[in-house]
């Protein structure tokens, strides 16, 4: 990895290896390597001891990259760093690609005694529970048509904690009681994976089968040959991702690589959260790797799926028997095909098996398929350019001359980012808001 010279002008030091993290990543992009997941691993290796190798020094003295401005304030430098971080996240390639919208995910939580380690505060276990809750809320927000189940790995066995359900409240309830989940014994990847696999075996082909493992242990205590289980997962098209809390295990990485999932080792609490939340956007459908990407598999045809939009029965109507619980309930939804009364949508009709969704659910899933194009960083201010942001109507910041040419990391030196379609300029804050929350360009629509 050649150090990026342009950035060296920034720092007074003459350390040859003085490349800050952002630039390092920026350089990687030029080589065409994917970023994100791999980065932590390299950082991981880089955090060696004092008497390490010279390349490990890449990450020492990062504070030298932070420069004070004329007034002695660090604010500009900090803002610059923040902007870089944002842009890095937003620069992911965004074209319209096939993604699985109807998702099925099983979260395997390690409940072995190694989760009681305090290297993450307060403990790995408590942090995992907390993050899992946040994850589930966010996951259902982004994937309203999905379903989640939870399985724990405790005492050498897999333990069903929450059944597959599309209701976030229900699944949150299953992990609300901390005392019922107290870690104990050794984990068994094989048992838990088998369990997850069998709970997704009946799913139709249009839905994804995903497993997310939060793994704190460095061992797995399996009754048989785990390689058989990995093979079974591949043939069942189960995508396995692992977030390891301790260190990289070969079996975990192999598991992810072979099944098409992502693998990451959490460096600290924040990084753990980042890795976990990377599993929220729906996975892209890939050409089947085993067939070598032949012409047929590179663009397989797709089938239409029948969905029904239910009739809602208001809260104020008289109570009637529902199909799911056979209880008297006021509100509900009527299946358009068989007229059965269901308690909650989205769901598969208990009677006729029709998939029942409401249109907001579909709409909320759509932005994954039609993402907002990444805004381009403006390097100069055009003559006719407006003085205020196209999103928030606030004035653009006065361009700072001291700033480096950040084009490598996609940061605009003038703090303006333009939509390639409507050509409007937006500030850095709006850029992030549009891409991560709004999912629609305010200029285009």
């Amino acid at each position: 990895m050649p150090p990026n010279r342009s950035n060296l002008d920034l720092s007074d030091s003459d350390y040859d290896e003085e490349v800050d993290v952002d630039d390092y990543d920026g350089g990687r992009k030029h080589t065409g390597k994917t970023k994100g997941k791999e980065l932590p691993k390299n950082r991981d290796m880089g955090l060696g001891g004092k008497d390490g190798y010279s390349w490990e020094a890449t990450y020492t003295r990062t504070w030298d990259a932070v420069q004070e401005d004329e007034g002695g304030s660090l604010q500009n430098a900090v803002e610059d760093l923040l902007a870089r971080g944002r842009r890095r996240r937003l620069l992911a390639p965004t074209g319209a690609i096939r993604r699985t919208i109807i998702r099925h995910l099983v979260i395997l939580i390690d409940l072995s005694s190694s989760m009681l380690d305090r290297d993450m505060r307060p403990t790995r276990f408590d942090l995992t529970l907390q993050y899992t809750r946040e994850f589930i809320v966010e996951w259902f927000d982004q994937n309203p048509l999905g379903q989640v189940g939870i399985i724990g790995m405790r005492g050498g066995l897999g333990e069903k904690i929450g059944d597959m359900t599309g209701n976030p409240q229900e699944i949150l309830k299953t992990i609300s009681d901390r005392d019922k989940l107290l870690p104990d014994g050794e984990p068994s990847l094989q048992n838990a994976l088998e369990m997850a696999r069998s709970s997704m075996n009946h799913l139709p082909a249009h839905s994804s089968r995903e497993v997310l493992i939060l793994f704190g242990s460095l061992t797995t205590c399996d009754p048989g040959n785990i390689h058989d289980t990995v093979q079974a997962a591949i043939s069942d098209k189960v995508r396995v991702s692992v977030v390891a809390l301790a260190a990289e295990m070969k079996i975990c990485r192999d598991l992810c690589n072979k099944t098409g999932g992502a693998f990451g080792v959490a460096l600290n609490e924040g990084h753990y959260r980042d890795l976990l939340f990377e599993a929220i956007p729906p996975p892209a459908q890939r050409a089947n790797p085993s067939t070598g990407g032949s012409a047929l598999s590179s663009n397989p045809s797709s089938d239409l799926l029948i969905m029904g939009f239910p009739t809602r029965i208001p809260e104020s109507s008289a109570p009637s028997l529902c199909v799911c619980h056979s209880e008297l309930k006021r509100h509900g939804y009527l299946c358009p095909r068989c007229l059965a009364k269901l308690c909650d949508v989205p769901t598969d009709c208990d009677i006729c098996g029709l998939m029942i969704v409401s249109s907001p659910h579909l709409a909320r899933s759509y932005h994954h398929l039609f993402p907002v194009k990444p805004y381009q960083a403006r390097t100069t201010i055009a003559d006719a350019a407006p003085e205020t942001c196209g999103g928030c109507s606030l004035a653009f910041p006065v361009p700072r001359v001291t700033l480096s040419d950040g084009s490598a990391s996609g940061v605009s030196p003038v703090g303006r980012y333009g939509c390639p379609d409507c050509q409007k300029d937006f500030c850095s804050d709006c850029d992030e808001f549009v891409h991560s929350v709004l999912h629609v360009c305010p200029g285009c629509s």
Partner: protein, 598 residues
């Protein structure tokens, strides 16, 4: 449990006794096929063990104050504990009878299993066209497969397609889901639908239960450490369980060797006592701590040299993967440091702390043994890359995965037919709404200009704004009445007597099941799971007709319940409203059936 009634009819009771089980009084019976325990006042047995499942029996000694019976059975982690509650004299006699009967069964079972194992290797000699059938059959060496491996797994997948699940799985699913069980009781045992039909579409429940029930614990990875306790007088106590002993034998074959070669001489207890104070035991401990171990003439013979030389005592006979081989770059770090300038890497300086080496090697050997027990024989099942022949493999071995460019393909591109018009269509919709009043572009421009002008002084306009009373009040009125309506329905508690609501639930679940059967016959679920039954179209239409006949009766049933409720004083409208969705969906199904028939 489900077939208990059937079984009890064809068996005869050989012994019977009053017992307590799980603190409940009941009767323990021994029949010619199974052992059952029926709680007082119930007619289904709570415990029901087939003779072939019984593995072990424990009884209280004669003269003990309480007569107890402990029964171990296959597939049952916990033993059954029964306490005989008859007066002591009778209880003793009863216990003796049970003991005799059960012991007979156990010996029978043991003999059966032995012959089963013995029969396996000898069968080939019977069927083979051997020219000398009288000759002593060749004793085939016991293959690896004959004794079941200790930690094997039934199969890595669920039961193969179309293979039925065992009865226990069905039973477990039903016991964990009482609602399903009652439905099953009503419909299947009532003969209205068949077992296979009932489970069709519910296979996933069975699959999940199967996966949960077939889990087995792996071998713990910890090295065997006997836990020593200090007794009251300061002596060291150690409880030797058969499990611990077999673990020790497995972990340290040398101890087994010593045991088999010596044991009658020093008695069993003395053998272990001496072992735990010997140097051999010290060597086997998972720490480098030195303790004062006595010389022992027996165990010192088995003592190997301390394994702390640079070369291990037991070298691994496999070739190490180049990437993992710490000595792979040995030649770069020649002795003459001044020539190459290369010091040995820290990972290459083996034996810096001499007393750590034996421990490290012990751990390595332990892990190797553990892996082998889990993976089976690695060389056969999974030829690891490092065991492949050398030659041109060297380069592929040092080819690091991380240095390869990742697959950069982002995925299959979404090819929506006419994407552009789809997205434009979205915009157009909005445009139409704006221009619905028939205004042209100029008009629109004018409107916006006017609006701009109007809005310039919006803050002053706002001061003069007066909404008028009537509009606000009307809005408030509407909102209040809405809330009031909700509150009213919520507050109104129409008390439906429990007996009626019970009937309602039963009627609804049964009708729903018929509806489910009806619709699955029309639209079979699209899943990839192996279905237990794959019914033919003819079967399906037959099932549909059957369900329709049941469904036509639903109206009568509902009416009957409504009548009954009215007698109890429940409002007619409440009942009709409660059944409205059900009746509507039944009607829809009947209607669909009619149109399909045509």
């Amino acid at each position: 449990m489900l077939n208990a009634t059937v079984l009890s009819g064809s068996s005869h009771v050989e012994a019977r006794a009053k017992t307590m089980y799980n603190k409940n009084p009941g009767v323990l019976t021994f029949t010619n096929t199974r052992i059952q325990w029926i709680r007082d006042g119930e007619n289904r047995p709570t415990v029901n063990v087939a003779h072939s499942k019984i593995t072990n029996l424990f009884c209280t000694k004669e003269g003990a104050p309480k007569q107890r019976l402990k029964l171990n059975a296959l597939d049952q982690p916990e033993p059954y504990m029964f306490q005989l509650t008859s007066p002591t004299a009778i209880a003793v006699a009863e216990l003796a009878t049970f003991k005799r009967l059960i012991l007979e069964v156990i010996t029978q079972n043991q003999n059966l299993s032995k012959t089963a194992i013995r029969a396996a290797p000898t069968t080939p000699t019977v069927t083979s066209p051997s020219p000398t059938p009288a000759a002593t059959p060749k004793v085939t060496p016991p293959t690896r497969a004959s004794p079941a491996p200790a930690h094997s797994r039934a199969s890595s997948a669920g039961p193969s397609k179309r293979q039925a699940y065992s009865f226990e799985i069905y039973q477990k699913v039903l016991t964990t889901m009482p609602e399903l069980a009652s439905l099953h009781r009503d419909l299947v045992e009532g003969g209205q639908i068949t077992e296979a039909e009932f489970w069709e579409g519910r296979e996933y429940l069975l699959a999940a239960e199967f996966a949960a029930a077939n889990q087995r614990k792996g071998k713990p990875s910890e090295i065997v450490v006997p836990r020593l306790k200090t007794g009251e007088q300061g002596q060291i106590l150690l409880t030797l369980t058969p499990q611990l002993l077999s673990d020790i034998f497995e972990e340290f074959p040398i101890v087994q060797q010593a045991y088999s070669e010596n044991v009658p001489k020093p008695a069993k207890a003395e053998f272990w006592e001496r072992y735990f104070s010997s140097k051999l035991f010290d060597r086997h401990r998972a720490s480098t701590r030195n303790s004062v171990a006595k010389d022992d003439p027996i165990f010192d013979r088995y003592l190997e040299r301390e394994d702390d030389e640079p070369e291990p005592l037991h070298p691994r006979d496999e070739r190490v993967h180049l990437h993992l081989d710490l000595a792979a770059t040995e030649e770069d770090h020649g002795e003459a440091i001044y020539q190459t300038g290369n010091e040995k890497d820290i990972t290459m300086r083996a034996g810096k702390r001499k007393n750590a080496i034996p421990l490290i090697r012990r751990f390595n050997e332990h892990s190797e043994r553990l892996l082998q027990s889990a993976l089976g024989d690695t060389s056969e099942k999974h030829p690891r890359e490092d065991l492949l022949p050398q030659a041109s493999e060297d380069y592929s071995q040092i080819d690091l995965d991380d240095l390869h460019q990742r697959d950069t393909s982002t995925g299959i591109s979404l090819q929506l037919q006419d994407t552009q018009s789809f997205l434009e269509g979205l915009g157009e919709g909005k445009g139409k709404r704006g221009t619905s009043s028939g205004s042209t572009v100029e008009n629109l421009k004018k409107i916006t200009q006017d609006m701009k002008a109007e809005l310039k002084s919006w803050s002053e306009d706002l001061h003069e704004f007066n909404s008028g009373h009537s509009a606000g009040e009307a809005a408030l009125q509407a909102m209040t009445s809405n809330v009031a309506a909700r509150l009213e329905t919520r507050l109104r508690r129409d008390v439906i007597p429990p007996s009626i609501s019970q009937q309602m639930t039963t009627c609804a679940t049964a009708a729903n099941e018929f509806l489910r059967q009806f619709w699955t016959a029309i639209y079979p679920p699209i899943n990839e799971a192996p279905a237990i039954t794959n019914s033919t179209p003819a079967q399906k239409s037959a099932r549909m007709t059957k369900m329709v006949t049941y469904l036509t009766r639903t109206h009568e049933k509902v009416d009957a319940i409504i009548d009954a409720a009215q007698e109890e004083g429940v409002d007619l409208h409440v009942m009709q409203a409660a059944f409205a969705p059900l009746v509507a969906s039944v009607d829809r199904a009947l209607e669909t059936y009619k149109t399909r028939k045509r």
